[in-house]
Symmetry: C2
Subunit: 346 residues, 2 copies
């Protein structure tokens, strides 16, 4: 029997209806075009990209070949050379295309995936995300930095070499601002962070937990929009990923790789989107969301992973919710039952 | 040079960046599985569906073969047999799966599309949508009725025979309620309907208008989320599609068919989602959005058409906006330049 469930943060309603699709067809991530030889992200082809803004190397001295490399997008959607300048005309509002659009090359290996890299290598990717966010927040014209990854052509990936993307914007995106507003409303009503409450409740209940460690919890959200949606949440309350400690970065790498490996092992390398939701730039010149103690107390950074097993249709576009045939309790039990792959922790 | 544009109703920010994809690859709607012989929506196979809730026939007397048929979904996501009953536990909230999930079979012809049907036949589809909305609103437990269409497997269609879907829910979906809230805020601030203001401004400007007649305007929204997004808006203010007059239904059929034909002719039968946005049930027992004069004055029913030429990636999921490489002014000029197909108006 189907039911409607509301997400406490997004506030979308999801129809959880196992009867509409009792058996999900497996969907395999299609590799985007691009062979290793001609790939601009492969070692030896560094001159095919704009000059790097960050590189992490294996040797503590910073020498040796790069392990992770961050470069500006060759054709950026937004550019730092523009001004914080906007205008309005009647009902319409616009801003110049100010921002930054960067690519995080996650490995020198063209064939690698986050799920099968070493924990150390995934940790370097997390370190690059954090370092770039910190650096971009130095530019007070930028209000928000989104980090996301598209795995598989169906999820929007355009190049095969493993990479994630960073888009820094002069505004906080509407959907993010709306969620921050919901979290803030609840904090003002109840005096508590809704994410902390959710975590406490989910850990006590247990049915939607996939995996946890002393720093992080991976769970299938109560109102999952898609089958096998995952939420990766730090136990320690904090509004910003930029404030994660080195120990937390190490733990995040391990638990994220484990979560992605479970999806791979259980679902056969599905396409997915991954999004890091951190707080806005606290120093922004023109903030969309008011910074300060209430925002810091009510927002709790986290990661969302959305496997793309079903197409997005008109109901999803229109409602902000979805019809999800896989109860998150079933998804969590299935993923919990898979043993994590042992990988060398070099 | 890219720019950020904010939609006055959704309030999402879209990065309009032609440089990121100067040339769009054509995407052809993939037919979902299902041959005419075994199709449950084809004439002669009526017993393969649950008993019809509505049928429209060619003869004014109501006799003769059916032209449009509405049947309950064989495996509905929501059911009228459930109760208006919900519960909450901690941060989570749920409702029993009350509602209705119906299929509008748009033609007896397995191969037809809305774009190549006669205006009269599209008019019957509109009539069926309106008749079902009116009927479902008689059930005061239902707060909202969404009508949508998925064309092509990439857009979520699961059966090849032309059809649209109706999902009636005990709540107004979050994304719809948010937009109604934005329209209401603006009405309270400015004393005017934001849609009426938008229409007046767009007609005066002209650059984003595709087509118009005395009843309706078809335009590419200023902050289009996808290339060739279309908004179909009645000139006469009214919150509800259920209140459209027979003349308006006739005109809507003509202009909608024309719009879809332009997409077909210009883009080569792309996959798309179509959504009808009408007001909530004014008689709802447990309304999500407060009905009354302010809602009636601020909400203006309309249709959205979203061609699915680009995959939805992490940025789109996270932000509620998108990176759109096709400026809506270019899209409108292209579609405006296509001459509408002459079709028999039988």
């Amino acid at each position: 029997m189907s039911e409607l469930r509301q997400d406490p943060i997004h506030r979308h309603w999801v129809v959880v209806a196992p009867e509409v699709a009792p058996r999900l067809e497996p969907v395999r991530a299609e590799p985007p075009p691009g062979a290793a030889g001609s790939c601009p992200f492969c070692p030896g082809n560094e001159r095919a990209t704009p000059p790097e803004v960050l590189s992490l190397r294996a040797e503590p001295s910073g020498s040796g070949p790069w392990c992770v490399r961050v470069v500006p997008n060759r054709v950026p959607a937004l550019r730092v050379e523009r001004d914080l300048h906007g205008s309005a005309k009647g009902v319409h509002r616009r801003l110049d295309g100010l921002g930054a659009h960067e690519v995080v090359v996650e490995s020198p290996d063209h064939e690698a995936t986050l799920a099968d890299m070493t924990d150390t290598q995934v940790g370097r990717v997390m370190e690059a995300w954090q370092s770039r966010q910190r650096d971009l927040f130095e530019d007070r014209r930028l209000a928000h930095v989104l980090v996301y990854k598209n795995h598989g052509a169906q999820a929007g990936a355009r190049l095969a070499h493993p990479h994630s993307q960073i888009l820094a914007m002069p505004v906080t995106p509407a959907a993010v601002a709306t969620r921050m507003g919901h979290a803030l409303d609840r904090y003002r009503d109840h005096g508590r962070c809704v994410f902390c409450d959710l975590l406490e409740q989910e850990l006590h209940d247990g049915s939607r937990i996939v995996h946890s460690d002393p720093h992080f919890v991976v769970l299938c959200p109560y109102a999952s929009r898609v089958p096998f949606e995952l939420l990766v949440m730090p136990r320690r309350h904090g509004p910003a990923f930029t404030q994660a400690t080195p120990d937390e970065i190490t733990a995040l790498a391990r638990i994220l790789r484990d979560a992605l490996h479970r999806l791979d092992a259980g679902l056969g390398n599905p396409p997915y989107n991954l999004v890091l939701h951190t707080g806005p730039n606290p120093q922004a010149l023109a903030p969309t969301v008011t910074p300060g103690p209430d925002l810091d107390a009510s927002w709790h950074w986290h990661l969302e992973i959305l496997p793309r097993l079903l197409p997005i249709g008109g109901f999803e576009w229109a409602s902000g919710g979805s019809v999800n045939p896989t109860p998150p309790e079933d998804a969590a039990a299935f993923l919990r039952g898979l043993s994590p792959q042992a990988t060398p922790c070099t």
